[in-house]
Amino acid sequence: MIIQNNHSYLQVRNLTKNFGKFTALKNISLDVTENEFICFLGPSGCGKTTLLRAIAGLDIQTYGSIHQGGKDISSLPPSERDFGIVFQSYALFPNLTIARNVAIGLENLGIHTKQIKDRVDELLKMVGLMEQSKKYPSQLSGGQQQRVALARAMATSPGLLLLDEPLSALDAKVRSHLRHEIKKLQRKLAVTTIMVTHDQEEALTMADRIVVMDNGTIEQIGTPEEIYITPKTKFVANFVGTTNFLPSVIISKNSFKFGEIVMTCETGDLNAGSLVTIAIRPEDINARDVKDTDKNVIQTEVLHLEFLGSFCRAKLGHGDLKDTTIVVDFSKSITRLLNIDLGSKLKVSLPPKFIRIYLGE
């Protein structure tokens, strides 16, 4: 029985994919809402592309089912499914002009030449490449080619748009520009979209919801804010953004010990003596107006300072931290205000509300 909530467009249930002895996907279940922009995010080899290709039918899953728009597509070949796809390599047909590339899907529908031309013009206008329609793919830049690929994928108005690392082959400036364009287009056409990426920035800026994956399993599904602010697992906390991990022991309700330092934070129903990992993001550690009466104050020293443009990333150690180190981000103004430099002695506090606890070391 499949639980079908109101707007769920795509239901993936218990999907497992084996390549010989290797299991690339382990019992994945997932719902995608209509018109939603979903990102599969994870390191290479985590199974995100495998999942996308299973949804497309390009590499069939070993077990499990997929429903799209209320129809069981689990075992359909790709040509009988309803999706448009864009690959990292663009995969434009090099011997066809831009216009013909976009038209090729329409030519199979048996519609009028005039209608095809109108639709192609409309699509090329939409991606801003009307003037290039007579050119061949090799005469276009990478970003332009990827926009053509997008127009081609959308030509037949598929119900599902699949993007397989579409921006990874482009350079940084083009990438961020195209990020906005794809997002804008997706909103305008209101097409359910799944994008695979290993770039957290891409996922955070574009997705309505992010599916973080590792080792063939889903670690967390949530909005970008949820993923960043309340990462459910250590893996997510580490993969999305930067996080300090401090191996600690719970000593009593709402108090834990890191090395020799006793600190407080919400510990829930963890028992005293539990080994835990405390996580806090570098930008959440406070250095301004730290008073001894504040919670979780640590006395340290700046060991290393990295200038990153709009802020500085400092590695702190010694003092209370002994041999361990933590990473802290200081805005430029704080750096100036506190006169932070290599070797500076520094008092920082770890605000309890920003601390997250994960069981185990």
Binding site: M1, I2, R13, N14, A56, G57, L58, I60, Q61, T62, Y63, G64, S65, S74, S75, L76, P77, P78, S79, E80, R81, F83, G84, I85, F87, S89, A91, F93, P94, N95, L96, I104, G105, N108, L109, Y136, P137, S138, Q139, R152, A153, A155, T156, P158
Partner: protein, 565 residues
């Protein structure tokens, strides 16, 4: 409950209409390969285990073969001349290839063209030419200091000549793929030029050398043309099969010799495949191509060497050309076209020449379409891995099968009275089938390489756009692979024009071929006419190649505009 059952059952993808069509097409071409390769070979193997009455007698034929000194001697002879010729060819071809790839020697274009010449002629041509140079009335007979040219000396010289371009092409490829930074690193470490050669150059192309060695060894080992013309009483395996089958009608023993001939060819083939796989991994994608620098001493030494080799090649074909035009060597040296009056002697006449043209055109057209389509189905098909791998495996075998063995296997298989395909025997059809089969592997590999270079996602995109595969094939794949398809058809054409080994057993009175006419004329002592016919083949191949160069260039510039940035 129902969903639990579902979750534990393996999902099998339904086949689309395209998948089914592709599999049916692949099955049809696969069926061709089974009929053209697997079944004939099987029939031949079983024949070698039978007596004349057709009863199974185990390995008695082989025991008899290896205990007959004269037969066993041929195997030894084959090994000996193949080994010696291979060493000589490798040495010459390596230096020649080195000069073309690693030096700034002038006139490289000229030397590249000259080196192709032997590919345009049947292997017998070198034998005929050698007779004129060093035969009983040879111009340069004294060079051999009383040694007769007929025998091992002639076979080695003739073999070296005709396999030279084969070795050269492999070595040029091997020497072309190198990383310039290795040489810069060596220079920065103050390594001497000679030490650099042994520490960088040789190791980086050792797989190419090994591969070239095995390829030419197999070519010589299984060649029939050269030993037939110039071998005299020096027996080798390829001529033995011919004698056993045509001379003594001893088909069983012929089959045994063919199997013996097959063995080293298969070993060489396996080693070559293994080596080639290693070669690929050698070069990283970030390598910088090597750009030779001026070095007067080296460049002019190489020029002298290449000129010598080019001179020898020209002497070889030049003598055949001269012989074809002389009235009656060595008594009447007046020029004449009388030798081209092929209809005057037995052997096939001009009809044989036109048969060869027909065979070559059919082979090139049918072969390139079928082989390319087959490679496409293997490379771009979805699912059905077992079928695709099997197809690929069968497509690779012809390279390991000597033409003589293939021809003989065809006799056994197609001439069998119970075979429904028996009607093919003695027709142009069987010649076309055997020639396509004989040269299947190299064409298949050329097609596969071209297909592999295409974006693997074209098919995925097409499926998502609901484009039927034959449309993608026609609109995308064929235009992109057009240069490779041209290469395949010209390769098939040239080989169909010059081949003798497989077709020698399969031609009939109506389907005599030019290359076989050369042999028959030589047999009858009509050496001048044999030379003339061999030259007709050379003109045709040269002309077709030239036309191809011009034609393909204009077609490619017209249809491949999209390649230009």
């Amino acid at each position: 409950m129902s969903h639990i059952l579902k979750d534990t059952s393996i999902v099998k993808q339904k086949s689309s209409r395209d998948d089914v069509t592709m599999r049916v097409c692949m099955f049809i071409i696969g069926l061709f390969l089974i009929i053209a390769i697997v079944l004939p070979l099987y029939t031949m193997l079983s024949k070698s285990l039978e007596n004349k009455a057709g009863n199974f007698i185990g390995i008695s034929n082989y025991v008899e073969y290896f205990s007959t000194p004269s037969l066993f001697q041929s195997a030894y002879n084959s090994f000996l001349i193949s080994f010696i010729s291979t060493i000589i060819v490798l040495l010459f071809a390596f230096i020649y290839a080195y000069a073309l790839t690693r030096t700034k020697m002038p006139f490289k274009w000229f030397f590249k063209i000259i080196a192709i010449i032997p590919l345009l002629t049947p292997s017998m041509l070198s034998g005929i030419s050698l007779v004129y140079w060093f035969g009983n009335q040879g111009v340069a007979k004294s060079f051999l200091m009383g040694e007769p040219i007929f025998g091992s000396t002639g076979i080695v010289l003739g073999s070296v000549y005709w396999v030279f371009p084969h070795a050269l092409m492999i070595l040029i490829t091997a020497l072309s793929i190198t990383d310039a930074r290795l040489y810069e690193a060596a220079a920065a470490l103050r390594t001497s030029k000679i030490k650099t050669f042994f520490m960088v150059t040789l190791p980086s192309c050792k797989f190419g050398v090994i591969s070239a060695g095995f390829v030419v060894f197999t070519l010589i080992f299984t060649d029939f043309g050269v030993p037939k013309v110039i071998g005299g009483s020096y027996n080798v395996l390829a001529t033995d099969i011919y004698k056993q089958v045509i001379g003594q009608q001893n088909f069983q023993m012929g089959a045994v010799v063919a199997v013996v001939l097959l063995t080293p060819a298969i070993i060489a083939f396996s080693v070559d495949r293994f080596v080639q796989r290693k070669q690929v991994a050698l070069l990283s994608s970030s390598a910088v191509p090597y750009e030779p620098k001026n070095n007067n001493t080296l460049d002019y030494t190489m020029l002298a060497f290449c000129s010598l080799v080019a001179f020898l090649i020209i002497c070889m074909i030049g003598m055949a050309q001269y012989a074809a035009l002389v009235t009656f060597w060595p008594y009447n040296l007046e020029f004449t076209f009388e030798n081209f009056n092929f209809d005057l002697v037995e052997g096939g006449g001009w009809g044989a020449y036109f048969n060869s043209i027909r065979l070559s055109i059919y082979t090139a057209l049918i072969g390139s379409v079928m082989i390319f389509f087959g490679a496409y189905l293997v490379e771009k098909g979805r699912g059905f891995k077992f079928g695709r791998n099997t197809f690929h495996g069968v497509a690779m075998t012809p390279l390991a099968i000597p033409g003589m063995a293939l021809g003989l296997a065809y006799i056994f298989f197609f001439n069998h009275p119970n075979n429904p395909l028996n009607f093919l025997y003695g027709t142009m059809g069987i010649l076309v089938i055997s020639t396509i089969t004989h040269f299947y592997t190299v064409s298949h590999l050329t097609a596969t390489t071209a297909l592999k270079q295409m974006d693997a996602e074209f098919e995925s995109v097409s499926a998502s756009l609901k484009t039927p595969f034959f449309r993608t094939f026609q609109k995308i794949t064929i235009p992109i692979c057009l240069p490779a398809i041209f290469d395949i058809s010209i390769y098939l054409f040239l080989n169909a024009m010059t081949t003798v080994s497989a077709v020698i057993f399969l031609y009939s009175a109506d389907t005599r071929l030019a290359s076989i006419a050369v042999l028959n004329m030589d047999d009858q002592g009509e050496l001048a006419m044999a030379a003339a016919m061999a030259m007709m083949i050379a003109y045709t191949c040269g002309g077709v190649r030239l036309l191809y160069a011009i034609g393909s260039k204009s077609i490619i510039t017209r249809t491949q505009k999209w390649r230009i940035k």
